[in-house]
């Protein structure tokens, strides 16, 4: 736990030491989601759509954090030589990932809240939260599933470095599209195949659930399938991440690529 706490501390300390990062992380998401909000306003979409976009943009911050600041972190640690120090230390690799996840979560939550509040205030989005605990439950389950997915990706970065980087790049936009960041994928107009693919991504269930509870005023009676899906994702992904990490570490030791740079 000391290792996890120390890694969390590094993440928080490091991220907040250079305030210009903070500014970029707050302003850029607001600009991106503004474009979608204006678009929906232009086509006279129902006002809830602006709320969908703001929730999508807020949750996307977590997905970006998982992908680039957690999964890809092993790649950076390898390039800077810190990975070697981790691997020689008598610690669980999952503890390091847990620290990264918690640190990333704290940092991103603060930024996400700011983006969310700014979005709600600027675009006057009507909120209808009848069951705040259900909203929080879905939020935390989504975060759990997302970071568990990130831990699994971390094993790819541990071994494949640059190649994994390209894969993550490839995943960024499709996940944004399939999970329905800026529109609901459960809508009738979205083709069945797209809906099927999107159901493989935990973020889809999270976004759908939070939107239903926070914007449409629904409750646990309507979103229980989301709760179950997200719980299953977390329960499957966490042990899978541990297995993948052990497997990749062992493979890296066999192939001699574990601490090999520029690959």
């Amino acid at each position: 736990m000391r290792a996890a706490y120390a890694r969390l501390w590094v993440r928080i300390k490091g991220s907040n030491r250079e305030p210009e990062w903070l500014l970029a992380e707050l302003v850029i998401p607001v600009i991106t989601l503004s474009a979608y909000v204006f678009l929906y306003k232009m086509v006279k979409a129902p006002p809830e759509y602006a709320g969908f976009v703001i929730i999508g943009g807020t949750m996307m911050a977590f997905w970006s954090n998982v992908l680039w600041n957690m999964s890809a972190q092993f790649y950076w640690e390898k390039e800077t030589g810190t990975l070697e120090a981790y691997l020689v230390a008598p610690i669980s690799r999952m503890a390091i990932l847990l620290g990264m996840a918690l640190g990333g979560f704290v940092n991103t939550t603060l930024r996400a809240i700011a983006v969310f509040v700014a979005g709600i205030l600027i675009f006057q989005v009507p909120m209808a939260v009848n069951e705040p605990f259900t909203a929080l439950l879905i939020f935390f389950l989504t975060i759990g599933a997302l970071y568990a997915l990130g831990m699994m990706f971390a094993s790819l970065f541990l071994l494949y470095g640059r190649e994994a980087w390209h894969t993550a790049n490839l995943l960024q936009e499709p996940v944004q599209f399939l999970s329905g960041t800026y529109y609901p994928t459960t809508s009738q107009v979205v083709p069945f195949m797209v809906q099927l693919l999107s159901s493989l991504i935990p973020l889809t269930f999270g976004l759908d659930g939070i939107r239903k509870v926070a914007i449409l005023g629904q409750g646990i009676n309507q979103v229980w399938p989301n709760v179950i899906a997200l719980t299953i994702f977390t329960l499957i992904l966490l042990p899978l991440a541990k297995k993948a990490l052990d497997f990749m570490e062992n493979l890296g030791k066999k192939e001699g690529r574990l601490t090999l740079r520029w690959q």
Partner: protein, 338 residues
């Protein structure tokens, strides 16, 4: 994989032991053997040097012993624990510091980085802070303790790196080219600190890889000379050098960088030679190990026939480089160039 011999003749097992360790890597057309049947042992409290040119297999062996790499075959133990089967136990008693590395986070200060690494070894925060203060004072970088790591010079980064390696008070300290790229003064400081740590303070065991002869000579109780994955010799620096006493080692400097030494390979009575060319002074210095002094006289005559001027001639005392030359036939620089 062969089994480790944990105890022999009622003696305690060696602190580090390898038996016929082989490590192959994928090559373009065929596997490349980085280690070819390496068997060594290191006892508690010893400073053991692994000396060899770039690509000799030094780092590969250190990586296997520090659980970062699996051997293709053979067996190795550290502190009595098998590096393949018990890596977690090995990690509890070791530390690794590599030269030219700056592990840590540039955005954190030197002492913040040290605190972070202390937590990886489970040190209670108060103990860690005392230990960090002591190491920073011992390694003389108090004035940079609060400086961001990204702003430290190479020398101070390596001091920080060494402090990081000593934080967990390792029983076995692995140092991979610890003075790589450092100035003479900093190198000397770090070397003497490591020797003091091992001999006076902690009775720790050190495995050091280097391609600096003087470093191995100055620091190590025993040295293994490794080349192309094979251990060629292993003994104390003194004994290794004594074995050369039957040979004559001569140094000479000739005018021109274009001196051709190809004929030396063909000559009988030559054990080995090395050469260093200086473009600035347009000279070539060479060192040759011969069985009889007359062979050296013949070499000089042949060089004069190339219209070269002999600028200086000296008889030299054997060094570890000469040991290497006697074993391989050429010096480190030629080995690195090839």
């Amino acid at each position: 994989m062969s089994h480790l011999v944990v105890a022999r003749d009622n003696r305690l097992p060696h602190t580090i032991e390898t038996h016929n360790v082989v490590r192959e890597f994928k090559g373009h057309d065929k596997p490349v053997k980085a280690l070819d049947g390496v068997s060594i042992y290191i006892d508690e409290g010893e400073i053991f040097g692994l000396l060899g040119p770039n690509g000799a297999g030094k780092t590969t062996l250190i990586k296997i012993l520090t659980t970062l790499l699996l051997p293709t075959s053979g067996a190795a133990s550290v502190g009595g624990f098998d590096v393949v089967k018990e890596p977690h136990k090995v990690r509890k008693i070791i530390s690794l510091v590599s030269g030219g590395e700056t592990p840590g986070y540039g955005i954190l200060s030197a002492s913040e980085n040290l605190w972070f690494f202390s937590q990886l070894y489970g040190l209670p925060s108060s103990v860690a802070k005392t230990e960090i203060k002591r190491l920073i004072a011992d390694l003389e970088f108090e004035e940079y303790a609060k400086t961001r790591m990204s702003k430290l010079s190479t020398g101070y980064r390596q001091r920080l790196n060494l402090a990081r390696g000593l934080l967990n008070n390792p029983k076995i300290f692995f140092l991979d080219e610890p003075t790589l790229g450092l100035d003479v003064l900093t190198s000397r400081k770090l070397r003497s600190y490591i020797v003091d740590w091992a001999k006076k303070e902690r009775k720790g065991t050190v495995l050091l890889t280097t391609h600096y002869m003087a470093e191995a000579d100055e620091m190590c109780d025993r040295v293994a000379i490794i080349d192309r994955g094979k251990i060629l010799a292993c003994d104390s620096p003194l004994r290794l050098k004594e074995k050369l006493k039957e040979n004559v080692i001569m140094k000479a400097e000739v005018s021109s960088v274009q001196a051709d030494f190809g004929f030396v390979d063909e000559m009988k009575g030559v054990v080995g030679y090395s050469q260093t060319r200086s473009i600035q002074t347009n000279t070539t210095s060479f060192k040759v190990m011969v069985r009889e002094e007359k062979t050296f006289t013949d070499i000089l005559s042949k060089l004069e026939r190339q219209n070269l001027r002999i600028l200086s001639v000296n008889r030299a005392e054997p060094t570890l480089e000469d040991v290497y030359i006697s074993l391989v036939g050429r010096g480190f620089e030629e080995e690195n160039a090839s």
